[in-house]
């Protein structure tokens, strides 16, 4: 699985959790927070992504990411 696949998974889950992102053109430089996800929403999106990837790592490891691109890179490195 490459970074683009992971990016697609993250953004798909972001669309499920945050209303109004159905037609949004996501960019790696955008942060989930700026897209309207509160802290609970962000943890949901990350957990749904980890579940989709069958990647069992502590949530806390993902909080270092400041935008979607960094999150994708961080997850990709742990696969």
């Amino acid at each position: 699985m490459n970074s683009q696949d992971i990016f697609a998974i993250v953004t798909r889950h972001a669309q499920e959790v945050v209303p109004g992102l159905e037609n949004h053109q996501f960019r790696p430089t955008e942060s989930l927070k700026d897209l309207g996800a509160n802290s609970i929403d962000r943890s949901e999106i990350v957990m749904m992504t980890l579940d989709s990837l069958s990647l069992n790592i502590p949530l806390v490891e993902t909080v270092k990411a400041t935008n979607i691109g960094e999150l994708v890179n961080l997850l990709h490195a742990r696969l």
């Binding site: 499920e16 945050v18 209303p19 609970i40 949901e44 957990m47 980890l50 579940d51 069992n56 949530l59």
Partner: protein
């Protein structure tokens, strides 16, 4: 101090969601037409299916009940809330929305509005489904479970969506929870803690575990009508063999006439009296003394002679001993002349919601000047009471609503036409 102490306490709004209708208009129409919706329950998590067993294979359950076929969550509820809300939460938001608009609460200072949610452990089916989904992969449990497993999450959602800031808490009183919530809402207004208080009986979302438990303890029917679900729910009938569950939720808005008159409200009734008493008994058995006590307390507080009561909405679950005990208490209190019917015969037993839903049924019958019929009342256990077996025109003047719960909880509330 808001409101004058002598200003009467009124019900100014109601909301209801049930298996026979969403909203007060549809609900009273269904009640008066004797509609019901009993079947083998189908909602995921309501029946146990042993792994690999074909339905209805060995070990599979077939619990009966009345499930809400569909309901519309109002647009005011953000989708992000709906996504993570339990069925109980979604139905609470829907029911509260109706009551909120009915009482025109949009113009009331949010700091002066309270919410008491009747019920405890009412999201059991959602918990069971979550446990099944994440069994063996615990690390992927959704973080929102940390919020949503608590019943108080429903208070959080409701206060956020409607901006309520006065007070909000859940209140557990088994099957009397809904009416206990009504009583606490009355007391919150009476004490001046808030100007307006909403009592909401939460939808009890049973999983197969609770159904099995209720069957095992002998509370939930039906052995007699296992293959005829539409005949199983029969309060006060000779062939009753326990309660039949019904999904529902009801909301009642109470406030003093002095605050209600500042808005264009159309009050349903005056809350005249109420009574609560415990039996000092952990078990599910009813108590004649406890029931007599709350009937007498409610009448005394209202200042009503028994003969002034012209309608009783009983607890009437279809339990063998429960129905017998309740009729004895009603007769003992000199209330045998009053009309009575059994709302549960049409709606089913809403457990935590029952007291609130049946208070709504009482108020809507009062307004309709007509009483709803009873279903499956083929052989009355006692023909000498004034049963509303068929729909009957009757302008209720003064009613008493009984609501009882496991662990020796007795409650009664009197309401009077304005």
């Amino acid at each position: 101090m808001p409101g004058s102490e002598s200003s009467p306490i009124l019900v100014t709004g109601v909301g209801v969601t049930s298996a026979i209708g969403q909203g007060k208009a549809g609900f009273i129409e269904a009640l008066l037409n004797g509609h019901s919706n009993f079947a083998a329950m189908k909602r995921p998590g309501r029946q146990y299916r042993p792994e690999g067993a074909a339905e209805p294979g060995a070990g599979a359950t077939r619990f009966l009940g009345a499930e809400i076929p569909s309901f519309e969550v109002p647009d005011i509820v953000p989708r992000t809330v709906v996504r993570t809300a339990s069925l109980s939460g979604q139905v609470a938001l829907t029911t509260l929305h109706e009551a909120w608009n009915d009482a025109r609460l949009g113009d009331v200072d949010p700091a002066r509005v309270g919410l008491v949610v009747g019920g405890s452990n009412f999201q059991q089916r959602e918990l069971t489904l979550t446990h099944e989904t994440f069994r063996g992969r615990l690390p992927f449990l959704r973080p929102t479970y940390g919020l949503s497993f608590m019943d108080s999450d429903v208070c959080g959602m409701c206060t956020e969506v409607f901006g309520i800031r006065g007070l909000a808490y859940t209140l557990g009183g088994a099957s009397a929870s809904g009416q206990l919530a009504v009583i606490h809402a009355i007391q919150a207004v009476e004490s001046g803690q808030v100007d307006v208080c909403i009592a909401l009986g939460a939808l009890m979302d049973l999983s197969y575990w609770e159904c099995q438990g209720f069957r095992a303890i002998g509370a939930m029917g039906s052995d007699v009508f296992a293959n005829e679900p539409e005949r199983a729910c029969r309060p006060f009938d000779k062939r009753r063999d326990g309660f039949i569950f019904g999904e529902c939720s009801g909301a009642v808005v109470v406030e003093r006439a002095s605050t209600a008159s500042r808005r264009a409200t159309d009050p349903y009734a005056r809350v005249a009296g109420w009574g609560v008493q415990m039996d000092a008994n952990r078990n599910p058995n009813p108590s004649f003394d406890g029931e007599v006590s709350v009937l007498q307390k409610a009448l005394a507080k209202a200042g009503f002679a028994p003969e002034a009561i012209d309608y009783i909405n009983p607890h009437g679950t279809g339990s063998s001993l429960g129905d017998t005990t309740e009729l004895r208490a009603i007769e003992h209190c000199g209330l045998k002349h009053a009309y009575l019917n059994a709302t549960k015969s049409l709606v089913g037993h809403g457990l935590s919601a029952a007291g609130a839903v049946e208070m709504v049924a009482t108020l809507l019958q009062m307004r309709a000047r007509r009483l709803h019929p009873m279903r499956n009342f083929d052989e009355p256990m006692d023909d000498s009471f004034n049963w509303a077996r068929q729909p009957v025109d009757h302008a209720i003047q003064r009613a008493v609503k009984m609501s009882l719960g496991f662990s020796g909880i007795n409650t009664a509330v009197c309401v009077e036409r304005l």
